[in-house]
């Protein structure tokens, strides 16, 4: 039923955007996809190590939601955050260099794939404990409200976070204090290898909004325009002082939980069905069909993105490792000279 309602939303979103904005959505989604494909390649070549959770397939959620925000709005994310970070405007060079563990990385090589951060972009970090970002997002919302500023905090998390206490505590607090937070649940049906129905008593995840007295909607997370429009509405509500919202974006990760997961708990048939719903292909078809862009423009975007990704890899390869004598530094603010009280 919820999906029925959302069908019209995409059309509405399309009408509010000019061609430049729409092509930019396409560009961002392609950028994330190519970035993740290249990341997988670099991982298999041993250039990237550690845990690495790819976002391919879910691009419409990050891009749609973040396009609905202002630059000064905050984003809080998870360990599957390359897409959110890039969508918020991070330089692919800085993100790729972080995955390579280099000193030029966005977190100076201290964070890796799961801990990207950029204060200037108000990308407030990737957190690698399931549900760990939600209380922090509530706190950022509190800071905004405390200073009577107009910003909104957009908090991404997976379906795996819903059974966590942090989810319920944070929704309660955000609603109780009317904090300007947009909670976006990326429901990709699996918390690691466990299906949603084996982990959560209520499979319609957006319904958790109701007990916490906030609006809850389910949108097609493979449709960037639906995600965009739902976030526009939730962010407007937050900005007006009416408090948080919960958006459930139904999506699918095209790869396993992490690089080491071949996803044997899913059928190849299921994967094929979702790949046919590829959010990038869908938007491409839509743009051509509605004559909002022509083949030439979109091919140009793809070529440009490829060059950006190649450049990012080159930059990461050529960047220096963090110096060994940096070890033990940056543990305390007071010790590294950045204190300012």
């Amino acid at each position: 039923m919820a999906l029925e309602r959302e069908k019209h939303i995409a059309e509405r979103a399309l009408l509010t955007m000019d061609d430049v904005q729409i092509i930019d959505l396409y560009r961002r989604m392609v950028l994330i996809r190519r970035f993740e494909e290249k990341t997988a390649e670099m991982y298999s070549r041993g250039k990237i190590t550690g845990f690495c959770h790819l976002y391919a397939g879910e691009e419409a959620v990050a891009v749609g939601a973040i396009a609905a925000l202002y630059d000064k709005d905050y984003v809080v994310s998870t360990y599957r955050e390359h897409g959110h970070c890039l969508a918020k405007g991070a330089a692919p060079r800085a993100v790729m260099a972080e995955l390579f563990g280099k000193a030029t990385g966005i977190s100076r090589g201290h964070g890796g794939s799961m801990h990207l951060f950029d204060a200037n972009l108000r990308f407030m970090g990737g957190y690698a404990i399931v549900g760990g970002g939600l209380p922090i997002a509530a706190g950022l919302g509190l800071a905004v409200k405390y200073r009577e500023e107009p910003e909104v905090v957009c908090c991404f998390f997976g379906d795996g976070a819903l059974p966590q206490g942090a989810f319920h505590e944070s929704l309660n607090l955000a609603s109780l204090w009317k904090l300007p937070v947009v909670f976006i649940c990326e429901n990709n049906f699996y918390g690691m290898g466990t299906m949603v129905q084996n982990a959560i008593c209520q499979e319609e995840l957006y319904r958790f909004a109701e007990p916490y007295k906030m609006p809850g909607v389910r949108v097609d997370g493979m449709n960037v325009l639906e995600v965009y429009q739902a976030t526009v509405e939730a962010a407007a509500r937050a900005r007006e002082g009416d408090g948080p919202s919960l958006i459930e974006a139904v999506t699918y990760r095209f790869r396993g939980h992490s690089m080491s997961d071949p996803a044997e708990y899913r059928s190849r048939r299921e994967e094929r069905i979702w790949q046919e719903r590829d959010p990038i292909k869908q938007l491409r078809r839509k743009l051509l069909q509605d004559r909002r862009a022509d083949e030439n423009q979109l091919t140009t975007v793809e070529t440009e993105v490829n060059a950006i990704i190649e450049d990012a890899v080159r930059f990461a390869e050529e960047s220096p490792e963090p110096a060994l004598d940096t070890l033990g530094k940056l543990v305390y603010v007071e010790d590294d000279g950045t204190a300012q009280s």
């Binding site: 404990i129 922090i136 509530a138 200073r147 940056l330 543990v331």
Partner: protein
């Protein structure tokens, strides 16, 4: 200079810091209308209002996590955990978020937050309400661990904590709130990482913090009658740790006793003893002793509880063994 209680000293520090900096606010369970479970925040709501003295639901994980977010967003939260025992529910946000954020984000973020929590035993509150957990936090890089014994230090250290930029576990002892002492009026800061030599002596060094400092002083007085001259050091902060003052003292006395209310095994005393061995092994005439809480959940029965906790009598016995 006025003689006030540890509780009043903390209240004064909070009041002054709220007054000093608009970014400072307090949140926690019962900190507002109730005035704090131990009345430390009493009267602050009336002066500063609900925006800056915020009652929260019973959600320790999210109170601390929201403190982390608020601090990253430019505020200076002082979060009260009703007791450290409940703080275990917030352990994830303390250890995985607060302590890590500055480092794992490459120094680009900071979490200037003070987490205040009462701890300690002695009131027959049983196994889940009587713990002293400073060692858990001492173990974790990225956290400051501050643990005052006197009213003057309670005020001076709390104000210093609010003025610095790292996350702090500020651990108060439930038995100390009514203890009185001279406290400087107005701006009084005690720097982090400076131990206080409470009593000078030449025969044995008693190294302590929090409530056990008083047991150490009582023991030192008892030892004086036996002709044993004990030096008493109040560490005041465990991170940063003023090991220099400790080592200097031990080099003089050649004997050391760690006195602390955490469990004996894996306690702060074990770490400090190790550092003494590393820095002053050749100066020692005897092994470092530990007088600490017995390795058991705290019993309810008063006699059993007293026996489980460190005491002046145990310190005296330990000193006699060392001589």
């Amino acid at each position: 200079m006025a003689e006030i209680t540890y509780r009043e000293a903390l209240n004064q520090a909070l009041r002054e810091e709220l007054d000093h900096d608009e970014r400072v606010f307090i949140m926690g369970e019962e900190v507002g209308y109730f005035g704090g479970a131990f009345k430390v925040t009493d009267g602050l709501l009336a002066t500063f209002g609900e925006k800056r003295v915020r009652d929260t639901p019973i959600s320790e994980l999210t109170i601390v996590g929201a403190g982390v977010g608020a601090a990253m967003g430019g505020l200076k939260p002082i979060v009260e955990l009703m007791t450290i025992n409940f703080g275990l529910l917030a352990f994830d946000q303390i250890v995985n978020s607060a302590a890590k954020i500055h480092y794992m984000f490459g120094g680009n973020a900071k979490v200037p937050m003070v987490i205040r929590a009462p701890q300690g035993a002695g009131h027959q509150l049983g196994a889940q309400h009587s713990q002293s957990l400073e060692a858990y936090f001492l173990h974790c890089p990225g956290l400051r661990v501050v643990i005052p014994a006197t009213p003057a230090d309670a005020k001076g250290l709390l104000k210093s904590c609010v003025r610095q930029d790292d996350p702090v576990m500020f651990l108060e002892h439930e038995s100390l709130y009514g203890v009185k002492g001279e406290v400087p009026d107005g701006e009084h800061f005690v720097p982090l990482g400076q131990a206080n030599v409470m009593r000078e002596g030449k025969d044995v060094t008693l190294i302590s913090y929090s409530k056990c400092v008083y047991d150490a002083i009582a023991a030192a007085e008892a030892l004086e009658n036996e002709g044993i001259d004990a030096e008493v050091i109040d560490l005041r902060t465990l991170n940063p740790l003023d090991i220099g003052t400790v080592v200097e003292s031990v080099k003089k006395t050649a004997r050391a006793i760690m006195v602390y209310e955490g469990w004996r095994t894996g306690g702060a005393g074990a770490e400090i003893a190790a550092q003494i061995y590393e820095a002053a092994f050749d100066h020692l005439d005897a092994p470092v002793e530990r007088v600490a809480t017995l390795d058991t959940p705290m019993p309810y029965n008063a006699r059993l509880e007293r026996a489980a906790l460190p005491s002046a009598a145990q310190i005296v016995q330990a000193a006699e063994r060392l001589m």
